[in-house]
Amino acid sequence: MNDSHLVKVSGVDKVFKRGSEEVHVLGGLDLEIPNGDFLALMGPSGSGKSTLLNLIGGLDRPSEGKVEVGGKRIDKLSDRKLAGWRARHVGLVFQFYNLMPVLNAQKNVELPLLLTKLSKAERKKRAALALDIVGLSHRTGHYPRQLSGGEQQRTGIARAIVTDPTLLLCDEPTGDLDRKSGDEILDLLQALNKEQGKTIIMVTHDIHAAARAKRTLHLNKGQLSTEAVD
């Protein structure tokens, strides 16, 4: 076993039940991700990219197999413990940002910190710092509807990194953005990977985006490969 492997997925099956019908999405899937990796995950729509990301982020459980993150079997944790684990170790970035419309940028970024024991002043300071890192210090009081798509996504990234998680999971982070804003987001992710050593897994449909990662894996028919299969 290699200690530098932050994520270790072994023999994972994922089956969804749709009524009486069973959908096999992942079958005997293995994946190892070293600390500090920046992995792009590609594959046709419906191939199970989001499903795999959910399993690694502890948002869902495999039907079969093991998911280890930082040496911990997260598939074995209780719902309650898993929630706590997510709060401490995972940062999530979504395609449609998923910010709270009633909270301004600052409060959105502070949200994950509510689950910590940090004081109000400390929470405020850290949120400001995260917003600074993503280059949004001048927009802290703005509500999501007052921000551009790129700015919303940067707020989303600030929210994902504010707890200083080891693992950043991004599901099509540039999928809803124009080229220029998308590039800015990718610059940011690259910087987070290089300068702060964040391990990043990014689902994308865009080859340009994938090119920014250290490596790319393709998901098809429940299996991963280094080559795209058409």
Binding site: R88, K107, L111
Partner: protein
């Protein structure tokens, strides 16, 4: 505490809907407060009724009179401490809408029987000296802006005068205050001796007796003994506890407590549907947001708490506004302009209101909150 901001922010989401819901809840609690005060007004006499007092009236009805001579007979019955009589005068001051009770009684007996009436020695003495004098409650005096020394004309509807006149003139010489908040200070006491010698007929007849008993535990037994004493006489009696007597009096209008309870139940049931509907929508529309909260680490129970918290925030804002307005309205005074001897919102019912707010929040919020708790992140994020 740190979640409060989150809870209150979410109320901003659908401002109109939240506002209307809060408004409905507010109206319900204004009704609650106001109707409570009205029920309280009807119950006031019953609550302050002495447990150690019985009322003895004619068996057939309150209108039938009893001989004054019963007093001694009642006082001789075992367990009776004291008995005193009252009579319904039924006069009108200026116009019939100015209704209030006037009663001829024996002053010394009144002081003894009703310790809850607080009167200065000076006023007591003045009344004992003035045959045409009256003792009035503070509330009644304020209602008509009377002052000590005023001469008050009352038109008789039942009791004509010997001289053929129907207008009785009384001198306001004494005022009483209530020892408790619920004490009836709307009464007008005439001296019985003056009344008896001035009335055209009915000499020696009185309306009913108030009887103080030595041991409240034996109330039923003493009441039975009194009725037995006068059984088979020309005027048979019915003795009952003062509280029951006043209740019976109020029930002539209808079962007020029941009517008010029915109205309030209907109102609260409706409001519960409104609040429940709002909460159901709040959760349904926010499936995605709630899933995101869970994704970033909120526990299932935490999300349940948030939804219940929102429900509480809405009902609390509406409920407290409602109770506050009710309190203001009630403190503006008796809506009947004097028919309610006491009109206020008891502290107990304010607390009851607060409990109702919490119960309402829970009932309206629990189903959506459980739905939020059960929400599967991966499922919900796909929607």
């Amino acid at each position: 505490m740190k979640y409060l901001y989150l809870i209150f922010s979410s109320l901003k989401r659908k401002k109109l809907r939240t506002g209307l819901t809060i408004l409905s809840i507010m109206v319900a609690f204004i009704l609650f407060g106001y109707l409570t005060a009205i029920r309280q007004a009807f119950d006031a006499g019953i609550e302050v009724a002495g447990a150690d007092r019985l009322i003895v009236r004619h068996k057939v009805s309150l209108v039938q009179l009893l001989p004054q001579s019963y007093e001694d007979k009642i006082e001789r019955i075992d367990g009776v401490d004291n008995a005193t009589h009252s009579t319904w005068f039924g006069g009108i001051y200026q116009e019939s809408k100015n209704f209030f009770a006037q009663m001829p009684i024996v002053p010394e007996e009144l002081f003894d029987m009703y310790p809850e009436f607080v009167i200065s020695d000076e006023h007591k003495a003045a009344w004992l000296e003035t045959r045409s004098g009256v003792l009035v409650g503070r509330g009644l005096m304020d209602r008509f802006d009377w002052k000590v020394g005023d001469r008050i004309p009352i038109n008789a509807t039942i009791w004509g005068k010997k001289d053929g006149g129907r207008t009785w003139e009384f001198d306001l010489v004494a005022v009483y205050d209530g020892a408790e908040k619920g004490t009836d200070t709307s009464q007008f006491f005439i001296r019985y001796d003056f009344f008896d010698e001035t009335r055209a007929n009915g000499q020696g007849l009185v309306g009913w007796y108030t009887v103080r008993i030595a041991d409240p535990e034996r109330a039923a037994e003493v009441a039975a003994a009194i009725d037995a004493e006068f059984a088979n006489s020309a005027q048979e009696t019915k003795a009952e506890p003062e509280g029951a007597f006043i209740q019976g009096f109020a029930n002539q209008i209808g079962n007020i407590g029941f009517i008010i309870m029915s109205i309030m139940s209907a109102v609260f049931f409706t409001i519960l549907l409104v609040a429940g509907n709002t909460m159901a929508y709040t959760v349904r529309e926010r499936t995605n947001e709630l899933a995101v909260l869970k994704a970033i680490g909120f526990t299932d129970r935490g999300v349940l708490g948030l939804v219940l918290g929102e429900s509480l925030a809405i009902t609390f804002v509406g409920g407290v506004l409602g109770l506050g307005h009710a309190w203001l309205l009630v403190s503006m005074g008796d809506p009947t302009d004097g028919s309610f001897p006491v009109f206020y919102l008891p502290t107990f019912d304010l607390f009851l209101g607060l409990i109702l707010i919490v119960a309402m929040a829970f009932i309206a919020g629990i189903v959506p909150a459980l739905q939020a708790q059960k929400l599967q992140i991966a499922d919900a994020l796909r929607r």
